[in-house]
Symmetry: C2
Subunit: 204 residues, 2 copies
């Protein structure tokens, strides 16, 4: 006899999934990536470890999805479309909007500790670093590439500029200040980066 | 009776110092910062741990000095003045020269593994991170501040620009590509960063 699925099975598994994300993020923040295990995540989430292995092949994938989910949640709470760069026709304003939201996310304690743990491990663990960049960072950077390409079409950005390098002029300073604590993060700071990048340091 | 110092004591302690630096860099690269100990450095360098404690209060200070020394050595081998930014009167050329040398250093295997281990620990260990930035990174960034100020005096950089933020437009992209492996490092890449930062992304 085949067991019928309970009517609330989907809701239950959604609940498990959220508990697993929360457990994974909390554990990596507290113990660091090397000491975070699928067993530990399962115990903290109150599920069996087979529940985790049913959905994800390893802790790296659980964590990457947990971060994607956290990014969606924090964007929605801030009243923004997650993982998007607006196009109002004003490139400077659009970049400032997104970078201000990124500052808010980086300063959010829910994000800071687990993201630092993952980033630190990525620096010394090339395989994980490449997964984090490929699955979390690069898709976000591509949104800037698209927005800069659109700005090239309307003449706001010079035609010869490589958008994949250009975005680094405002994204990387923010990343370095966050990762290495080389300076304070604020909306005024990211606004300044956008102005310097668009108009250059040399007199016009 | 006071024991006379041996005539070759200075040379001997210089040899010990070099052995300690090499041991500290090798150990942190292999084992990571948390597992590197003063005892381990002493054993590998073939000295007693009291020799280390006579000169440095803890492993962090040994490592920071070892990196300063490595930076001096690699600059000298490359025929350059260590920890300096030239001023030939051509800002773009001077920045390109220094950034090309930095690319070479970041790609040098003697530097890469120990520097990654220290940088990774600095991401999650705020106290160490602030020491690394304060003693290794910020003094180098100040050289760019000075060079950009000189360029403001000659009119090559706009007067209203904050040099401490401006330098991040070309330094931070290189740092992020190295730390997070978000793209390849080359002289062409850093040349492009300098041109974009000085002349801006918007049409002139």
């Amino acid at each position: 006899m085949v067991k019928k699925p309970a009517p609330d099975a989907t809701r239950r598994s959604e609940r498990s999934r959220r508990a697993i994300y929360a457990a994974a993020l909390a554990l990596v923040a507290e113990a660091g990536y090397p000491k975070t295990t699928v067993e530990g995540i399962a115990a903290r989430a109150g599920v069996g470890k087979q529940t985790i292995y049913r959905w994800w092949p390893s802790k790296a994938e659980v964590l990457l999805e947990a971060f994607l989910d956290l990014g969606e949640q924090t964007a929605r709470e801030a009243g923004q479309e997650p993982y998007s760069v607006p196009d109002t026709g004003d490139l400077a304003a659009d970049l400032k909007t997104v970078l201000r939201a990124t500052v808010d996310e980086l300063l959010d304690p829910r994000f800071d500790a687990p993201a630092r743990a993952l980033a630190a491990e990525g620096v010394v663990n090339e395989q994980l670093g490449r997964q984090v960049v490929g699955k979390l960072l690069e898709p976000q950077l591509q949104l800037y590439v698209d927005r800069l390409r659109a700005a090239q079409d309307t003449g706001e950005v010079r035609a010869g500029i490589d958008p994949r390098i250009a975005l680094e002029l405002f994204v990387s300073p923010l990343a370095q200040r966050w990762l290495q604590r080389t300076g304070p993060l604020s909306h005024g700071y990211t606004d300044t980066l956008v102005d310097y990048a668009l108009y250059g340091l040399a007199p016009r």
